[in-house]
């Protein structure tokens, strides 16, 4: 059971969060200018690496913040990468 570092609430058990997927899937600024192939890649494809990936996580039953962490998908080692905006 993962222990995930929420920037506001600190370390919490995985059952308080929802995984938001790969963070580098940024929504294109102007989708109309995307080719069909680029748009399909954004919609459906993932890097899905075996190793470190930057992910969104949502502290849904806590402070409801969305935040990013680096997580190793093989060892589940987690590195917090977001400090709170003061």
């Amino acid at each position: 059971m993962l222990e995930i570092p929420c920037p506001w609430c600190g370390l919490r058990n995985e059952n308080e969060f929802i995984c938001g997927g790969e963070a580098q899937r940024k929504r294109p600024a102007d989708p109309d200018r995307e080719t069909d192939e680029a748009w399909a890649d954004y919609l459906y494809n993932n890097a899905n690496p075996k190793g470190v990936v930057t992910e969104w996580w949502w502290h849904v039953s806590g402070c409801t913040l969305w935040f990013k962490i680096d997580r190793n998908t093989l060892t589940h080692e987690i590195t917090p990468i977001e400090e709170l905006p003061e």
Binding site: N13, D32, A40, W56, W66, T75
Partner: protein
């Protein structure tokens, strides 16, 4: 009876009667079932799984492979180990998987058939007929115990716990680690699976720092119990090590007496594993005969339970620990006929001990046979001076020690082969886990104590930052230095030599697997089933690995272990899932009107997001269809009322809310006026339906959005994610107010009359237009009322604070008495929806249609710069091609029965199409039109109006005409009037 007159930790005043395999016996309080059987000279305790060979006790602990029993007297539990059952008055048990009895078992025929049923024989035969022809018999022979049929009444509990340092195992090393760590003030938790602390010190009287073992244990335990920062749990098994130092443990008899077991989720900052080791058997022909036991087990039965397993013993070993027990055995009258040592030379301490007690030792010795099918009679020993037969009734053997590295391995750590102790010990730890003592391959008590103190001290210093001063002293303990030399048996052995007692796997099976090119250890395990039984290879696996390595001609240690998987010991499903039974498995969410609905006798069913909603309100004698028809007619012709509270309701406030809505919905919202609402459609990025609903503009920067029940959670996540991860520049606050704001709908031609009958300052006349909302006082409380309609009728939706909801509801019911007000269920509102052809994301959406397919082009504004899903819609439009469209279906037979999900096929007599054409998304009998109607997805449906298609259901099929997807009041005059 071979119970010693004194000694052991048993209460000789308290005799306990028990029955085993139909025989009456007596044991003492403090006995386990196993020790009581030993004290009563019971040799055969069970039958092996495959060959049904008679089996005796091999061990004295939880790793016991042979003595699996059905505990009849306590819940008829299957597959319990006799070594783990505390003896109680009136206990009754019998051996598993033998018929008619353990003494005489017909299954033993397999022992004679063994030549033609080697490992994996079932892959090579049983192919002449379908497997189920054979599996009927094979399944009966398989399976060990019998599962009871009546309900398990046990109460269980699940808890989360956090600690700084967790110590697993309260043997000498574990006790010392906890003792040292506790000094620092850090939170320490000590967990141990035995009934009382002490580990192997309970079984072997050893002196530590000049004190007797038992005295040392009592001292340390008292010290720990006296500290507030220490939690001690006995009779608690740590069963698994999971991510980020989460350890799962099962507490068997918690002090909260109404509980049978408690499951602990322990999140620790640091973990010390002090789980000790189990003795490894030697591999020799007949090593499974009743009366062949591990040396450590013999010592435990004698010293702990004063029960003597045999009178004339032969000791067979390849290491020094066997010699530690010789004097104990002699002291209780066991005559040591001979010691057979596989090694060429003995250690100096061992030689001195055997000379002192004039015991005959055969070095370079091998046991090449054991006689006695249900009790050992004699053994054949091959030494330098030839082969001799030695008569005996007990064979104590020791092949070395297997450190219990299960938890360390679950944590992700790899094990390494230690040549000196010839076993697998922990390597580089993964996660914050540290092994000490025998679990770390340190087989001396003194060494274990030193390690434990050193590691525990450094860990708590790291945790607390405090210096603890000197603590890693290495006490002197009287013990023989550990020495071992593992010699694997040659292939020329005659007779069955077992490596896995429970699954009956012999050295011949291992050789066969390797010969057939199953050379990975995982292949050998799966092909021979070695290590796959209930004991999961705790005693046998290292022997399997050693033999495979020898067969491959590799260097010992080069072939690794199979994967260690939780749980360390089997765990009852009761404690895993039994704490949230019945209504607690999934929350049943309620509204203030739920109890009223139930009181009215509504047929409740599951709606979205775990809400229970009334499906229809049957009156006496009414079927569902009758009730739904009555309710629908009331809504169309008089007045219907339903509870809309489960719908999602969100407040959006901020200067950029209009821009946000423009990007979320397919239609425009930036031109919505205050006091007005608008129906909006929300898509996913892939252009498919997410949800639809009405949003009102309450103030300059203040909107109220409503959405479908099931979609509420998904829509909230969708918007919140966009605000926090993509459009972080938009100033909008999103607040979920679904539960706090009750929503009630009054619809139908008399809706205005019913509302008029209530004291209010709100005017409900024609100036209150469709999609307007007004705020004011209603029945004495402040409300917001909107003209929104999901039924196609004139309809008013009343929003009121939850605390007033029931009062408003009953007020409306009273006001509507003489207007035929009728509560309508969601089955009925489903019928009304189909009659109006309102598209539902969950039915017609079906994850594949886009708004154009659903005939909702009117709500899609492709001129907007961007909205979620727009790019995907453009892709759909550009690619074109045949798509499934939403259509209406009118069955030729007016009263045809059409089931949801029925498939659509071409009209047999009609157009040249073939194959699957689509399916019915929602069908019903329409009381308004007095005929069956349906909505459906049909290939190229928009262009096939007027065509006939065949509705193919499981029970019956019927022809139907394709129409536009609306059957009643297409212009919507009733709801807009």
């Amino acid at each position: 009876m071979t119970r010693l007159a004194n000694g052991g930790v048993v209460n000789r005043q308290r005799r306990l009667n028990f029955r085993f395999n139909g025989q009456e016996y007596q044991g003492l309080e403090g006995d386990t079932l196993a020790s009581a059987l030993v004290a009563n000279d019971v040799k055969v305790v069970g039958r092996s799984f495959k060959y049904h060979r008679p089996r005796g006790l091999l061990t004295c602990g939880p790793e016991e492979p042979n003595a699996l029993v059905q505990l009849l007297s306590d819940g008829d539990q299957p597959n319990l180990r006799a070594t783990e059952i505390r003896l109680t008055e009136g206990l009754e048990a019998k051996s598993v998987n033998c018929w008619p009895s353990a003494r005489f078992d017909l299954g033993a025929v397999n022992d004679w058939l063994s030549p033609i049923i080697p490992a994996g024989f079932y892959y090579k035969t049983f192919m002449a007929r379908p497997w189920d022809f054979y599996s009927r018999f094979i399944r009966k022979a398989a399976g060990l115990g019998r599962l009871p049929t009546e309900r398990d009444r046990g109460r269980y509990e699940r808890v989360f716990h956090h600690t700084d340092l967790l110590v697993v195992g309260a043997g000498p090393a574990g006790l010392r680690a906890a003792q040292v760590a506790a000094i620092s003030g850090a939170d320490v938790m000590l967990v141990d699976m035995q009934m009382s602390p002490g580990g192997h010190l309970l079984f072997h009287s050893r002196e530590i720092e000049g004190k007797a073992g038992a005295e040392w244990i009592a001292e340390v335990t008292a010290e720990l119990k006296g500290r507030r920062n220490v939690t001690c749990l006995q009779n608690t098994t740590a069963t698994g090590y999971y991510d980020h130092n989460m350890v799962l443990a099962v507490e068997h008899e918690p002090e909260a007496a109404w509980l049978r077991e408690r499951l602990w989720h322990i999140r620790a900052k640091k973990v010390v594993i002090a789980t000790g080791a189990v003795e490894r058997p030697l591999v020799f022909p007949g090593n499974d005969r009743p009366g062949v036991m591990l040396t450590d087990a013999v010592a435990r039965y004698v010293s702990r339970f004063a029960a003597v397993p045999g009178q004339r013993a032969v000791v067979y070993t390849n290491n020094s620990t066997a010699y530690e027990h010789l004097e104990l055995m002699l002291s209780v009258g066991i005559s040591v006929e001979q010691v057979v040592d596989l090694r060429a030379t003995l250690g100096e301490a061992e030689r001195e001990l055997v000379q002192r007690n004039s015991i005959e030792v055969v070095t370079n010795g091998r046991i090449i046979g054991v006689e006695g099918r249900s009790a050992v009679r004699d053994v054949r020993v091959a030494g330098e001076s030839g082969i001799r037969s030695v008569s005996c009734d007990l064979v104590c053997h020791s092949g070395g020690w297997n450190p219990l590295i299960h938890l360390y391995s679950h944590a992700g750590g790899k094990s390494v082969f230690d040549q000196e102790s010839a076993t697998f010990i922990p390597g580089e730890p993964v996660q914050a886990v540290h092994c000490v003592g025998a679990a770390n391959g340190t087989f001396s008590v003194a060494g274990g104590l030193g390690e434990a103190a050193g590691i525990a001290g450094s860990l708590v210093e790291e945790l607390t930052g405090k210096q603890l001063g000197s603590y890693s002293s290495r006490p002197e303990v009287a013990e023989i230095p550990y020495g071992i030399n593992v010699i694997w048996p040659e292939k020329t052995l005659k007779g069955k030599a077992f490596v896995d007692f429970q699954n009956d796997v012999t050295t011949a099976d291992i050789a066969l697997a390797v010969r057939e090119n199953f050379q990975s250890i995982e292949h050998v395990k799966r092909y021979t089933t070695a290590g796959m039984a209930v004991d999961q290879g705790k005693v046998g696996n290292p022997n399997v690995i050693g033999l495979v390595t020898k067969e491959l001609g590799e260097q010992q240690g080069s072939v690794g272990t199979t994967t260690f998987r939780p749980p360390f010991m089997p765990v009852s499903f009761g404690v895993i899932g039994g704490s949230e039974q019945g209504q607690l498995i999934i929350p049943a969410r309620t509204t203030p009107i739920t109890r009223w609905n139930i009181a009215q006798g509504a047929a409740m069913d599951e709606a979205g997001a775990n809400f229970r909603r009334p499906f229809y309100f049957p009156r006496a004698g009414e079927s569902m269809d009758d009730a739904v028809a009555r309710e629908a007619r009331a809504a169309r012709n008089a007045c219907g009322i339903y509870d809309g509270t489960p719908l999602g309701t969100f407040e959006l406030q901020g200067p950029d809310t209009a821009e946000l809505l423009n990007r979320l919905y397919t239609n425009r919202f930036d031109n919505l006026l205050i006091g007005r609402g608008r129906f909006g459609l929300m898509l996913r990025e892939d252009g498919r339906f997410l949800d639809d609903g009405v949003t009102f503009r309450v103030g300059p920067h203040h909107y109220l959005m409503s959405c479908g029940t099931g979609a509420a959670g998904v829509v909230y996540a969708h918007i919140d994610r966009l605000l926090q991860t993509e459009w972080t520049d938009l100033k909008v606050y999103l607040v979920n107010v679904s539960a706090g704001l009750a929503t009630m709908c009054v619809c139908g031609p008399y809706a205005r009359d019913v509302l008029g009958g209530v004291e209010t300052d709100i005017d409900f006349d024609e100036s209150f237009r469709f999609m307007d909302f007004r705020e004011g006082r209603f029945a004495g409380v402040s409300v917001r009322i909107a003209r929104v309609s999901y039924t196609g009728e004139l309809s008013f939706e009343i929003n009121v604070a939850r605390r007033h909801a029931l009062m408003i509801w009953t007020t409306l019911m009273n006001a509507g008495q003489n207007y035929g007000i009728t509560p309508i269920g969601s089955e009925t509102s489903g019928v009304l929806r189909i009659e109006k052809g309102f598209v539902s994301p969950g039915h017609e959406g079906d994850n594949i249609t886009n708004p154009f397919d659903a005939g909702m082009a009117w709500i899609v504004d492709m001129e907007k710069p961007d909205f979620i899903g727009k790019r995907s819609l453009r892709r759909d439009l550009d690619l074109g091609g045949e798509r499934q469209h939403v259509v209406g279906l009118l069955p030729d037979k007016h009263r045809a029965l059409v089931a949801d999900g029925s498939a659509l096929l071409p009209d047999p007599g009609g157009s040249g199409r073939s194959g699957f054409q689509g399916h019915v998304t929602a069908a019903c009998f329409s009381p308004t039109l007095e005929r069956t109607i349906a909505l459906a997805l049909l290939k190229d449906g928009h262009h096939r109006h007027g065509e006939k298609v065949l509705i193919s259901g499981l029970e019956q099929s019927c022809l139907a005409t394709v129409t536009a997807p609306v059957f009643f009041d297409p212009q919507g005059q009733r709801m807009r009037g």
